[in-house]
Amino acid sequence: MSAEALPAPAIQVEGLVRRFGRVEAVRGISFEVARGSTTALLGGNGAGKTSTLSMLLGVLLPSAGTVRILGEDVGRHRYRVLRRMNFTSPYVDLPKSLTVEENLKVFARLYGVPRMRARIGALAAELEIGDFLKRPYGTLSAGQRTRVSIAKALLNAPEVLLLDEPTASLDPDVGDRVRAQLARYQRASGATLLIASHNMPEVERMCDAVLMMRTGRIVDRGSPAELVARYGRRTMEEVFLDVARREEPAGAAA
């Protein structure tokens, strides 16, 4: 196959910068995420993960740099690409007074989902939310809300799925189910997943590739196995701690 015939990476980020006043939250990062892969975006609090995901979604404008998703420039064709992607985030919520089913119907229409009822029914069965479809979203437990949030994110069968801490605040049982459901969706659809997470076992289990962020930069990248070997550690947890605690190189903050 010639180079021209190869499909563009699912996500291409080039020289992405985001400043909030004098603070540079994201400092000129560049990376690519291959189609059909599951990639982790790792880093401590304030590393720039959520700002990066927000810029990929176009809800935050970059100070500099470009984002291309599925070959489309997000800055220029945001609405075209948003139909083909979706996300979950603990920083946003769904209307609590609406039932789960009502919420899913609203978002199904927003994403132009064909055969909406059948799609919601299939997701309800897959994510085990059928029992509380008729209940107000606000009455659900954290684990139930997470599953509903993932159902919303899968409504349009996204080709690119951004997940910001998808299993935060879940007990190990629910967290394990959510990971299994996401992995099933990824295998069945060939979708590309980009996951911001603090859960290292989750990263080792789900991800083909890892981008390590620190103070707004990507400081390392590779597969979980490569990173573990490179740092001479046994687990990604130990790699994470090494990266998070190592001294900032002189002049790096400039």
């Binding site: 985001r18 909030f20 700002s51 927000s54 979604l57 176009g58 809800v59 935050l60 404008l61 609405y79 948003l82 139909r83 996300f87 985030s89 920083y91 946003v92 919520d93 769904l94 209307p95 609590k96 007074s97 609406l98 039932t99 009502e102 119907k105 609203v106 978002f107 199904a108 229409r109 927003l110 994403y111 132009g112 919303k152």
Partner: protein
């Protein structure tokens, strides 16, 4: 592709549906919509009855005060219905979900306009029915001009609602009180219950820049003089076209500003 062609009726309907779901299950919200127009109408109905026996020229015309009150409520409810639909999304922390979907800001505005229309019809419709029952005063006595007044006042309400929503997007829920109070700035200048000639000349010069002044003057033309004042209608339409365009521009600029500042996800906190 033109801006109008890019709008999706399905996405607009999705947002309308989201608010109808809310109304359908919240009788408190529906009661609140009807409560204030009804209270105002009852109060002013009795005042009008009192004035009718005390030679006030305006009260000599049956129903003029009640009709004025109901028209004012169209303006107020129209603006409130628009602003509160937006604020509901902030309360729900749902703006991030909405704006990370293919929903365009212009579609959100179109949906809020429709929701505002529904909310206004519920609120003012209840009060208008009660006015007919209590005082045998029907706002429909205005005849066809009522449609022109109704449309103009709603558009004025949306223009203010757009600007209030833009301020809420800029300043968060700290600006929420504007949703309740902003429209009252226009009340003394609009000549709701008295002719414009009551105002001092310098204030009249200012007041004529409000579309609402022309609407209420037009209402008195119909009720008092039995004349439809076409020039007042066209003045109101022209001013509304300017204000609603400015309002939409301010709202869209505020949306882009929120994207630049990263507020779309955190707004409301």
């Amino acid at each position: 592709m033109s801006a109008a062609a890019a709008l999706s009726a399905q996405r607009i309907y999705a947002i309308v549906l989201r608010h109808l779901y809310l109304l359908r299950k919240s009788w408190v919200r529906v009661v609140e919509m009807a409560y204030w127009p009804t209270m105002q109408m009852v109060l002013w109905g009795f005042i009008a009855q009192f004035l009718a026996t005390n030679s006030s020229w305006v009260a000599q015309v049956p129903g003029v005060l009640v009709s004025a009150l109901l028209l004012w409520e169209i303006l107020f409810r129209g603006q409130l219905g628009f602003s509160l639909s937006f604020i509901e999304e902030l309360y729900a922390r749902n703006l991030g979900h909405l704006f990370a979907s293919p929903l365009r800001p212009s579609e959100l505005v179109a949906a809020m306009v429709l929701v505002s229309l529904v909310r206004t019809l519920i609120g003012v419709g209840t009060a208008a029915a009660l006015a007919w029952f209590l005082y045998a005063t029907s706002i429909f006595d205005l005849g066809l001009p009522l449609v022109a007044f109704f449309a103009n006042l709603l558009v004025s309400g949306w223009a203010v609602g757009l600007m209030v929503s833009a301020l809420v997007m800029r300043h968060g829920l700290a600006a929420e009180n504007l949703a309740w109070g902003a429209i009252f700035v226009a009340a003394p200048l609009s000549g709701i219950y008295y002719p414009m000639s009551v105002l001092p000349p310098w204030l009249q010069a200012l007041a004529w820049w409000l579309p609402t002044s022309h609407v209420f003057e037009g209402m008195r033309g119909v009720l008092v003089e039995r004349t439809f004042l076409w020039h007042e209608l066209w003045n109101a339409v022209a001013l509304n076209a300017v204000y609603v365009t400015v309002g939409a521009g301010v709202f869209l600029a505020s949306f882009e500003g929120a994207r630049k500042r990263g507020k779309l996800v955190q707004i409301g906190e």
